[in-house]
Structures are given as structure tokens and as C-alpha cells.
Symmetry: C2
Subunit: 332 residues, 2 copies
DNA sequence: CTGAAAGCGCTTACAG
DNA sequence: CTGAAAGCGCTTACAG
């Protein structure tokens, strides 16, 4: 599968490779006669020429590739993010490399290295716990870098996130105004700053309300099993209880638990979940949820990255988008 | 962000770039003295050298990139496929480019072109209707190519798929043996061969059974709305009815309809769905479904592609994997 | 209006 | 054991 090169075109058309390059790139600067222009285009088509972006990348030192590193591309949230990023990136002429790091800092580091060796022009990353070292290495090289969804506690990086604390406080308000006997917060046992924000936003507000609260923290390994176990231990149906699931995975696992145990929502327990997923629609009750602005997150992150690629600035902009509480029928 | 090159290493270590290249690539053929070897490694580390795969790709004419083209990476089915392909590809040293074509042949063609310009070593594709032209162009270049999930009617390509007709026949058997008054097949209004197989496998079998059947075909544009509309028109609860949803999207849309209309499963209607998705678990009844062997599909497709890359053969192997019917509680 | 030449960062057969 | 040189497919400042 030897492909035609501009050298082939040049030879057949009887011109120099320089000339071929000029007409193929439609540079207006140096005028080429229409005759040779036509001939070159004709030859190019006839031998089925396709440009070799690798060669171009090497010469131009930009690849028009960008890397996306997420925890897991098979997670609904990230695959939706990825899809929107793909569309936005495409518009700007970038092609997307995707990698999943499973919350593992070593995998994260390897992915950044791999992508950087492939000379991606920049990366959009959802950094994991303990990824500071890998990130700092990229920063030292002034590698265009943008965070999405998450952010780093000790490193200032351009990126886009949502108003985690505020939206959690808002969710809390929805619950406290209904005077539940008890509210259960289901979150992750993690140090990820954006998730801590989500948790603290809730905690501070619920404390003021005086309503008794339980905090149920789940490890990222065995979500379904652990949610089951901890809900069994903590959910007391004798009390009027509301549960706030602070991610899509937690929401799905939790609703599944309620389903399996025939616990009716909102009659026996009220529920608010984070993120939007088709799955919620299959639950008997329409679940009230927090909607993240995925399209805008993707748009802004690509825009930020493109800016960084075109003009690197060490302390780039950090954009906070507004998540939206979507009231349905799962709180009563 | 000017990066160090082997030239820099050579200069600092006082050796030639050839020597640097040899030791960096650990070639055993030409023996380099331990002294210079150590020095080179030391210098490489000290100036933070990372290889430029673009340069290497150009020289070696292989990029260690592979492209994956699916209908939509945000679709649960494809994002799971993608994740497994990512893992398998990684093991063999490939990095993954991902593109979504939305069942649009023009987008499909553009993606193949883009990927080929980026010099991917091969592509794993889920071809869409009318993609023959784009595929044939790749074949003409002897471009390593493997289909996944789908296959082409008029072109023989290596690939991996499942036993669509057989598993549908098996699903049909589950239903016919329960002597329903009516069975509704919900499928796509499409020419995609693998979906037609799924449909015909069911149709042939159900015809033999003599049980009245309705075939409900849904366009790929507005799945939820159309499923709603057609289910409303075709579902007659006075009859003992079973519905076979032949994809995850159809299953989700259909179950959502049943949910919204408080139609109980399996008391009022029996259901079998295709594909596995977390969503099914949120439905009040555990849904019986057809499980596709995603991991094996990914494994085999990457293996086939790697074979094609290393040794191109025009009419590569076509692998059919077995889907599995998972009986739950939605048929009665 | 067009071409010769250098160079992007690598690899490798060849010579010494 | 090591280096000089060619070449992968491009782009572009420069010269004519």
C-alpha cells in the first residue's frame, strides 16, 4: 500500500515538488500559472494522491491531533463528553486520540507520555488523584493542557468545570425545605477536589438546616456492591428519608438497590441524582437530577485548548459553567 | 515547548546521532560500548528526552495509530466496544483515534480519509449504509481494515460479528413456546445487513410457529418519539403480547414507554431486549436480554487488524462470535 | 511564475 | 565499536 507523494505528482506533471506543494496548499502568495495549477490538480487526482499528514506534522511541528484522557470512556458521562469534544475538535481541524486511565495515576502518566510522543498539539484531561507529577512535567514543557470536569488542587491550569458546591447546596435546599427526618448523601471516598466540592457544598448547607444527615462514601472499585451494602446499613425506612446520589454511577447503583428491594420512590424514600442518563428514565419514577452542560463543557474546553495551542499562556482561564437542577417526581 | 531531539543528545554526549538511535532502540545487532551507552542514556534523561513518534513514523512508514469509526461513541454499546478495543490496542502498542459518523456515509468517508491522511496503520470500522465506495477506496490501497459489529453485503472484509440470525431465532423460541397471542418485533427501518439478519432470523422462526406477529420498524433519527408512537398504535393489551426489542436504544425507548404508561412487565406484556445496559437494571422487572461478547469482539477485531497490518491478505477471516440469551424475569 | 535546497527528527545499510 | 550519509514526505525562504 505504497501511496503517491507530491514527488510523484511533480515527476508526472514535470514540475518541482515546491510548485506542487504550493498549489496543493492554495497559497495565494506565490502565483502559479493556471496551466500548471490545473495540470498538478489533474495529476493529483489521477494518481489518487492523499497528503501525508505525518510528514506535514514533522515539518510544521504541529500534528492537528489532540488527546483526551478520561477515567473511562465507557462511562456514559465521559463518552458523552468525548462525543461533544470530538465534534468541536473536528470543526477546528483536530482529530481526537482517546485514552482511559481508570483513576490510576500511573496509567494517566503513561497516557500523557504516549500522547506527547505522538506529538498531539494539546490535551484535554480529567486528572486523577496523584497526577500532579505527570501534569507538572507537561507544564514544564509548556504543553497546551486543559482540564475538564475536574481540576487540580495545587496546580493552576486552564479548564472548565461546573459549580459543584453551589449546585449541591441548591440540591440540599430542595431537600431541607421538605423537612425530611434524615438526608443521606452518597458520594465517593476520594480526594478529587470537584467531588469534595460537591460534598462540602451539600454539607455546609445541610448543617445549617439542622436536619440529621448521614454521609455514605463509596470506593471507586466496587460501586454496585458497596452501594448495596451501605444503603442496607444506613437506610431506615421508618424515617422520612431523602437520598442525594452525587454521580451517575452512584445514582444508578442506588436506584438499582431501591428497585431490588421494592422500595418505592418517592413514597418511601425521596431521591435526587447527579447527571443525566437514559437509565433514569427506566425507573418507575421520573428522577429529579442535576444536569451538567456537557455540550458547553466540550465547546469551552476545546476552545480553551485551541487558544493554548495557538498562544500558550501559563495561567490560563478557568471557566465555571452552571449545572442545572431538573425537578421531576422523585422528591416528596 | 521546543523538545530535545537525538541530535541534542548526540551533541552533548559527543557521539553521532546514529549511535544515539542505536542505544535508544536497544538494537543488539551493533554493539556499542557500555561507556558510551551509559553516557547517552544519562544525557537523554538529563535533558528530558522523549522520542518523536511522528519522525519515527515517517521514516518507518508505520504510525502505531489505529482508527476506530463507529456510529456514535456516546452510544453505550460503542463506548463499551471502544473501551475494550482501547485496552487491546494498547497491549499491542497502538494508540486509538476515534470518530463517530452518525450513520452518515459522507461523514464515514471523511473519517476514513482523515484517518488515512494521519497514516493510521489500520482501521476498525462499523460501516454504515452506502459506505461501499469509501471502503472500496481503502481496499484499493490495500489498507488494513476490519469490520466490527456490522459487515458489508457486497464486500468481503475481515471482521468480527455475532450470530445475529441464530440468536434472534433463539429469542423467538423463548417467546413462541409461551404461546403468546401476539409477538411484536421492534427493529430499525434500515438496510444494515446485520440488523436484517437479526430481523430475518426472528421472522423465519416466528412464521413456523404460526403465532401472529407485528413488525415495528423505527427510523434511526427520532427513536424515542417513534417508538412511543408505534407502540401506542400496535400494542394491544387485551392480547397476551410479547415484545422483542432488537437493540439497546430500542429497548430503552420501549421500556420507557411501558414505564410512562404504567404497563407492567411481565404481567401485562413480556419483553426481551438486545444488548446489556445498566439502564435495564433500573426497570422494575429484571429484563431478559441478549448479551453480546464485547470483550471478545474487541479482542478479535484488534487481533485481526494487527494481522492485516503485519501481513495484508485481501480476503481476511470473518469471525462470528456467539451472543448469549440471558434469561431474567420479563417473560411470562 | 518556478525550482533548488535545507531541514523537521528519526532509522539503517554501509564503511571503516 | 562508531559515524557519515541518505531518505521518509512534506514546507518555505530565497534566488532567478
Amino acid at each position: 500500500m505504497k501511496r503517491a507523494s507530491i514527488k510523484d505528482i511533480a515527476r508526472i506533471a514535470g514540475v518541482s515538488v515546491a510548485t506542487v506543494s504550493y498549489v496543493l496548499n492554495k497559497k495565494e502568495g506565490s502565483r502559479i500559472s493556471d496551466a500548471t495549477k490545473d495540470k498538478i490538480l489533474e495529476v493529483a487526482k489521477s494518481i489518487n494522491y492523499t497528503p501525508n499528514k505525518i510528514a506535514k506534522s514533522l515539518k510544521m511541528s504541529k500534528s492537528k491531533l489532540i488527546g483526551l484522557i478520561v477515567a473511562d470512556i465507557s462511562n456514559d458521562f465521559y463518552s458523552n463528553i468525548a462525543r461533544n469534544i470530538e465534534d468541536e475538535a473536528m470543526k477546528l481541524g483536530y482529530t481526537l486520540l482517546i485514552g482511559s486511565c481508570d483513576e490510576n495515576p500511573e496509567k494517566f502518566r503513561k497516557l500523557t507520555e504516549l500522547f506527547s510522543e505522538h506529538q498531539v498539539d494539546g490535551m484535554i484531561v480529567a486528572p486523577v488523584v496523584d497526577s500532579d507529577e505527570a501534569i507538572n512535567k507537561l507544564i514544564a514543557e509548556e504543553y497546551p493542557l486543559v482540564t475538564i470536569d475536574r481540576y487540580l488542587k495545587n496546580i493552576s491550569l486552564p479548564g472548565v468545570m461546573i459549580n459543584n458546591a453551589e449546585i449541591s447546596a441548591h440540591v440540599c435546599d430542595q431537600l431541607t425545605e421538605k423537612k425530611f427526618d434524615e438526608i443521606i448523601y452518597v458520594g465517593y471516598d476520594t480526594e478529587l477536589p470537584h467531588l469534595l466540592d460537591r460534598q462540602e457544598g451539600f454539607e455546609i448547607r445541610v448543617k445549617n438546616s439542622g436536619i440529621p444527615t448521614k454521609k455514605v462514601l463509596i470506593g471507586i472499585q466496587n460501586i454496585t456492591a458497596e452501594v448495596n451494602e451501605k444503603l442496607k446499613k444506613n437506610l431506615n425506612l421508618k424515617k422520612r428519608t431523602a437520598i442525594y446520589f452525587s454521580s451517575n454511577k452512584l445514582g444508578i447503583a442506588g436506584l438499582r438497590y431501591l428497585n431490588d428491594h421494592h422500595i418505592r420512590v418517592p413514597v418511601e424514600v425521596s431521591v435526587i441524582a447527579f447527571d443525566e442518563t437514559e437509565a433514569y428514565h427506566l425507573f418507575p419514577t421520573d428522577i429529579s437530577f442535576v444536569q451538567q452542560p456537557l455540550i458547553d463543557m466540550a465547546k469551552e474546553s476545546v476552545k480553551l485548548l485551541d487558544q493554548q495551542i495557538n498562544h500558550y499562556t501559563p495561567n490560563g482561564e478557568r471557566i465555571t459553567l452552571q449545572a442545572k437542577y431538573m425537578e421531576r417526581n422523585s422528591v416528596e
